[in-house]
């Protein structure tokens, strides 16, 4: 188990990911090759359209005329009678606004706490001169392939009196073994000489971690931070198991109610605007608007952080 290691590209050397592409101009392309290239471009274009189409549909629907929307079946490929009432209703919905607030708390606290525990723990476990490092790592990795299951987890949370508290959402998910392994591998690739020279200057463990090593493994830190943020933003299952108090619900649980569980009640609770007489007509519109609003933060960020994912994690370099 210990030999499970992830080689990490971004850190060690600042090598850019170079994609190998066949050089078309060097050797004259054969005709079958040309046909294949044309086929490939067509297929990928079609696929890209298939990937983006549902998102476009949701977006255009969310800014369309609600009465038109209710009569329309099939994909909405252009907005009809621009209308932002859906978004107004979303921001006027108390449950949703509170859900947003809760999610921001959960994401922030869980990510900061998780990053601290992960980084410090990964550093210690990456030190070769630590007698128990390998044993600990084995016990930790074992939890990736075997666990108690949801019912025992629930019972333990009950016994710890964490049910129905914010900690029930934050604590059980704050460390991910996968991220720990990424971080540990990153630390173990830094040449030991750097740490040794800092030690001679009298630096302690924490100084070594945060001032000497961390700047060298920035890419890994960014990657696991992203993984944590996305995981916490999107998580709903633990909250649905451990929380009954609606005041504590994260955004995703509110979304589940609106989008999946009960569309009947939603319409009623949505009619907070006086102008809205026919709440039912706005039901669809609000659903689409809420999808856009809740997904926007993650979608807006990801093109900028894609390079971390790409140069990022790669399972490989397995020592047998």
């Amino acid at each position: 188990m210990d030999s499970l290691s992830l080689s990490f590209k971004g850190d060690k050397a600042k090598e850019k990911t170079v994609f190998y592409t066949p050089k078309e101009n060097k050797i004259k392309s054969s005709i079958p090759r040309k046909i294949f290239v044309a086929f490939n471009y067509t297929l990928l274009t079609a696929l890209a359209i298939a990937f983006i189409l549902p998102v476009m549909h949701v977006f255009f629907s969310s800014i369309s005329d609600p009465y038109w929307l209710n009569t329309k079946s099939g994909l909405v490929l252009a907005p009809h009678g621009i209308n932002f009432t859906g978004y107004q209703l979303v921001f006027n919905n108390k449950d949703l606004v509170r859900g947003f607030g809760n999610t921001i708390i959960y994401v922030t606290v869980a990510t900061v706490l998780g990053m601290l525990i992960t980084i410090i723990g990964a550093y210690v476990l990456s030190r070769r001169d630590l007698l128990f490092a390998d044993v600990l790592m084995m016990l930790i990795s074992f939890t990736m392939i075997f666990g108690g299951g949801i019912v025992p987890s629930y019972i333990i949370m009950q016994k710890l009196h964490l049910l129905n508290t914010r900690w029930a959402v934050i604590l059980p998910a704050c460390v991910s073994t996968y991220n720990l392994i990424i971080m540990r591998t990153a630390f173990s690739t830094v040449p030991p000489a750097l740490e040794e020279s800092a030690r001679l200057d009298g630096a302690g463990d924490l100084t070594v971690i945060f001032q000497v090593l961390l700047p060298l493994v920035k890419a890994s830190v960014a990657t696991i931070a992203l993984y944590y943020i996305i995981a916490h933003w999107n998580s709903w299952f633990q909250a649905s198991m451990y929380l009954q108090n609606r005041e504590l619900f994260p955004l995703q649980l509110v979304l589940r109610e609106i989008l999946i569980v009960n569309d009947a009640n939603t319409a009623a609770s949505m009619s907070t605007l006086d102008a809205v007489s026919d709440a039912n007509a706005y039901k669809q519109l609000v659903k689409y608007a809420v999808i856009i609003v809740s997904s926007a933060p993650m979608i807006a960020v990801y093109p900028f952080v894609m390079k971390y994912f790409e140069s990022g994690v790669m399972i490989g370099a397995v020592k047998g």
């Binding site: 590209k9 890209a48 949801i150 649980l253 999946i260």
Partner: protein, 311 residues
């Protein structure tokens, strides 16, 4: 690995003297795993007792020990074969369809010479991954209802007006297609990274030997990423029984339990909805054990035949 570590008394004492500060630093991490991973594992004991909250996990085990009764009850129940079949079919089809498609898509993207086109395709295909599972399921529910995009399409095709999520035979296609939509693009990242690591000189050498693009694919590209493929396969097979029950729980309904209900969703219903703790722990344990056997076996087979393994 360097030299063997010896856990003699003297070695432990020396290690503690020298490294106690570091052990202190790693303590929060250790506590996390004890409380949120190993304590729940001890909860597995509930499977062998008739758990009463008042007695606690160990008290119930001592005073209300029932042996394998919960297991035999499950194996003998009407649900057992249906759940096994649904779990294996859902995850099996996901694997058979999703695994090769991811590799093929990575190869196709990798073959694109135009940088901008490649970047655009990648950016768009990763996008659904960043949409939360709740929202993806919300979109699926919306598309599948009678007046939804897919619902009306199927009405036109079959002449029957129905909510697609209420039809048992549609469940697996809906599950798998929505999975592909969300994860296919993002799944290629790993392979594209692996492809970029294939030694370029090998391609040059193959070209000099007169190998065309197809031969390069067979003799250079695929061997170059075979290790990644095998490791991903081990991971996927190992997850065969554990893969996302969240999606099932979000979208299924009693009308389609015939195909949609899997072991994990059954555990969730029995344990957390009905409060049948001991029985559902036993069913969950059965699921985890199969999983463990699967991952250890695939790993062993892979080590034996391909000299690539996860652990």
């Amino acid at each position: 690995m360097s030299k063997e570590k010896k856990f003699t008394k003297a070695a432990i004492a020396k290690d503690m003297r020298r490294n106690w500060k570091r052990y202190l630093l790693v303590l929060p991490l250790i506590m996390f795993y004890i409380v949120f991973a190993y304590l729940p594992m001890s909860g597995i004991l509930m499977a062998f007792s008739d758990y009463k909250p008042k007695l606690g996990i160990f008290g119930s085990l001592v005073k209300r020990f029932v042996g394998f009764k919960n297991f035999t009850e499950f194996f003998g129940s009407f649900y057992f074969w249906r759940l096994m079949k649904n779990t294996i079919l859902l995850n099996g089809w996901s694997l058979i369809i999703g695994f090769p498609l991811t590799i093929i898509l990575a190869l196709l993207i990798n073959d694109v010479a135009n940088k901008h086109f490649r970047k655009t395709v990648q950016t768009i295909s990763y996008l659904p991954y960043f949409i939360s599972m709740v929202v993806v399921c919300g979109i699926v529910v919306d598309f599948c209802k009678t007046s939804g995009v897919l619902g009306t399409m199927m009405t036109a095709l079959t002449g029957k007006t129905q909510n697609l999520l209420g039809v048992a035979s549609y469940w697996r296609p809906i599950y798998i297609i929505s999975d592909l939509w969300q994860g296919l693009g993002f799944g290629t990242i790993l392979y594209i990274a692996a492809l970029s690591g294939v030694d370029k000189q090998l391609y040059e050498a193959a070209k000099i030997d007169g190998a065309g693009h197809f031969k390069q694919l067979i003799h250079v590209t695929l061997p170059g990423i075979s290790q990644t493929i095998i490791i991903m396969l081990i991971l996927r097979v190992g997850m065969l029984m554990a893969s996302s029950y969240e999606k099932t729980i979000l979208m299924y309904n009693s009308q389609i339990y015939d195909t949609a209900d899997i072991i994990a969703s059954y555990v969730y219903r029995k344990g957390l909805m009905d409060g049948d703790y001991s029985y559902s722990t036993a069913v969950g344990l059965f699921n985890s054990l199969i999983n463990l056997v699967l991952i250890v076996t695939t790993n062993k087979l892979s080590r034996k035949y391909t000299e690539t393994s996860l652990f």
